[in-house]
Symmetry: C2
Subunit: 217 residues, 2 copies
């Protein structure tokens, strides 16, 4: 089983606040997520600047498309994003138009599994050729501390993987959580504040990579 | 029954493209919507610039919050938005945190009724003190031409009004559609391309206002 990739989530209120920690941690980062908050605060300028600074990294514009998928995904790829995100509750036609746009641009689409997604929906996405889903704990629930990672989560990830999806895992993941996922087919772990907010972002990212390498050895 | 307000939806790829038509039509506009697409392309700079140019108009940051409601709504109000939007499929806790933030800032929250909303959900929002909902035809469905305004829509709007909501109506509304809504308690009509894309945006906005005045006379 392949070692997961490490994605840094940049959810700052402005671009400069994101660039500092990103620059420090970049050597250990595989995927750079321009988070919803940063997309909304700085617009596509943030995506364009970050891809320009880090052309060899995968850059995700985490715009969480709910509708107007064609226009929004075009805008993201025009700003040189590699991947864009769509919420699972989006208008059904959105998945096809965004996936088609992504494929035409050599990029990819991730579907974020929000409350209310079903296995029937997931099967339709798989049939449609969708490659990636994001399995998450919501920030609000996470803030309430009501959820922890457990077998139920791992079973869900395994089943999604068996359906053919590459699964990104997000929601306050910390280095100490990583070994819990041993044997679970995770494609990407997302870390936000755990890296961006660290005194030493490079050390924090390195710790993630080291623990992932040990866990998936 | 009160004459509805007129809201211009600005869904351009950049701020200058929005400002030209807006400046021309402004005298006839009640609410300025900084659309999702413009928020994503230019960020909160667009909201800040538009409120600065039109301080006496209501400015809606149509960010369609799905989660992280506290952070995103703060960001919008910091950029001087009067109203923010939340999607009906948002994490349940989002409505309360955004509404609280809006009330603390003298603003308001609109819930956009996306596919999958239920009357049970609407009742919970009413009980929570939510004042405004957006009843829409989706851009994708609209593009397919599969929906027209009819009694089913009007009944929904009436029932939402009876529950205490002020109802915004959107989805390719044209002046010729307005008389169909006679006797229907619409709080706001949204027009996007019908005004922004018109050769004479002021004349287009004036036509909306005139037909609304006639219909609600």
């Amino acid at each position: 089983m392949q070692k997961p990739l490490l994605q840094i989530a940049l959810d700052t209120y402005d671009l400069p606040s994101a660039l500092g920690p990103l620059q420090k941690a970049a050597a250990q980062i595989d995927v750079i997520e321009v988070g919803t908050i940063l997309c909304l605060s700085e617009g596509m300028h943030a995506v364009r600047a970050i891809k320009s600074l880090f052309p060899d990294k995968i850059v995700l514009a985490d715009v969480r498309i709910a509708e107007a998928g064609s226009i929004i995904s075009k805008m993201c790829f025009d700003a040189n994003a590699d991947w864009v995100s769509v919420v699972s509750g989006a208008a059904p036609s959105s998945f096809e138009v965004v996936l088609a746009e992504a494929q035409a641009r050599g990029g990819d689409m991730q579907i974020e599994l929000s409350d209310g997604w079903t296995w029937d929906m997931a099967q339709k996405w798989a049939d449609m050729g969708v490659q990636q889903v994001i399995f998450k704990r919501s920030r609000d629930l996470e803030a309430q501390g009501t959820l922890t990672w457990g077998e139920k989560d791992f079973d869900t990830i395994r089943r999604l993987h068996e359906m053919g999806f590459k699964v990104t895992v997000t929601g306050g993941v910390k280095p100490k959580d990583i070994p819990l996922f041993a044997g679970v087919p995770v494609y990407i772990f997302i870390a936000g504040r755990a890296i961006r907010g660290a005194d030493d972002p490079l050390a924090a990212a390195t710790e993630f990579q080291t623990i992932m390498a040990d866990t998936w050895a």
